[in-house]
Symmetry: C2
Subunit: 206 residues, 2 copies
């Protein structure tokens, strides 16, 4: 089984990198699908699962759990359960066939399957530009607010990752290839990363 | 002018990556040639220049400088002069045409030329294996000694780099692509990195 995991800084275009890689290689692509499956398995609301796994447990957050309400004291137990379900879902997804999986600590969860691990990052200026380009009309953020949002989301991703791994989120040691997307044309460059990944699997299989 | 800079952890195969990239792209390749040119310009001994620029100024090291001897107090002035000559030599080399330059802070010195900056790294186990493979019969080091040597050389490279740059040596932010060579076949994979670099320059030139 050939598995590619893509971790990324918010606004770096990591999702586009992952999608294009999957298309180029004919691999299945999993991103928000994972959250949906976790929510179904855990009988939790999709938005709640997303918020918990992306940003860690927020304070004073009332938990909607199987239509009953729990106060924050229940969050720790819920998080543990969520991580357990996440592990199960990601392993099940990976067993279906060659795939590209975005985020969700899949690099750590699937380490025994020897995935090709990519980290995508960019300069803050470039990330802000990318975010501005795809921002909806109704969510007008200032540059300063956007910068704060980017840092907050990345902190959430790092915190979630660092709970289950010795190697810190974004530390190049934990990845096979780290791609800086600052001012690059992702569409034009991804075919070469796909070729690299294809050959990486062949070399490792020897 | 298309310039590729390659920084690397000792034992990661960075030099092989750089040489193969240069061959693949038909670019000039500069590694120890730089040290020779610096030594000639500064009228210093090649080995001394190499030791100073790779490992920083060692304590109690007597400086052979234009056939007169200087005690360590002269080292700081000499280092400043060496960095200045290094800058000049690297810029002159880069102005000759498309090239791949290994180490010597060329990523920082040439930042105004917008080079494609690569960092090559690997797991300690993999670096030790690579070093053992190329070790001469007369320099038999134990695994522990080898590990110490690898760390020392990398510390020297980091110290030298961090004197002239805000971004720390090896921090992915300072590079366009970070390649983990652990268990990979460099020969088979470099052609795809060459293609990536070629296209990176085209994209950036638009």
């Amino acid at each position: 089984m050939k598995i590619i995991t893509v971790n990324r800084e918010f606004g770096s275009g990591g999702r586009e990198v992952a999608k294009r890689l999957a298309d180029e290689l004919g691999f299945a692509y999993y991103d928000s699908e994972i959250i949906n499956e976790i929510a179904t398995h855990a009988e939790l609301d999709t938005h709640y699962v997303e918020r918990m796994l992306e940003n860690g447990a927020p304070r004073n957050y009332v938990v909607t759990y199987s239509r009953t309400f729990h106060m924050p004291s229940a969050i720790d137990a819920n998080m543990t359960r969520l991580y357990s379900v996440q592990n199960k879902v990601i392993k099940e997804i990976a067993s279906r066939g060659d795939c590209v999986i975005v985020g969700r600590c899949s690099d750590v969860v699937l380490r025994d399957s020897d995935p090709f691990k990519i980290f995508v990052y960019a300069d803050m200026e470039s990330k802000i530009e990318r975010c501005l380009g795809r921002m909806q009309e109704d969510e007008k953020l200032t540059i300063k607010e956007l910068q704060k949002k980017i840092k907050q989301i990345d902190k959430g991703r790092a915190d979630t990752h660092n709970i289950i791994s010795d190697i810190r989120w974004g530390d190049k040691k934990g990845y096979d290839l780290c791609i800086n997307t600052t001012r690059i044309n992702i569409k034009d460059l991804i075919p070469y990363i796909a070729k690299y990944a294809e050959n990486w699997f062949e070399t490792r299989e020897k």
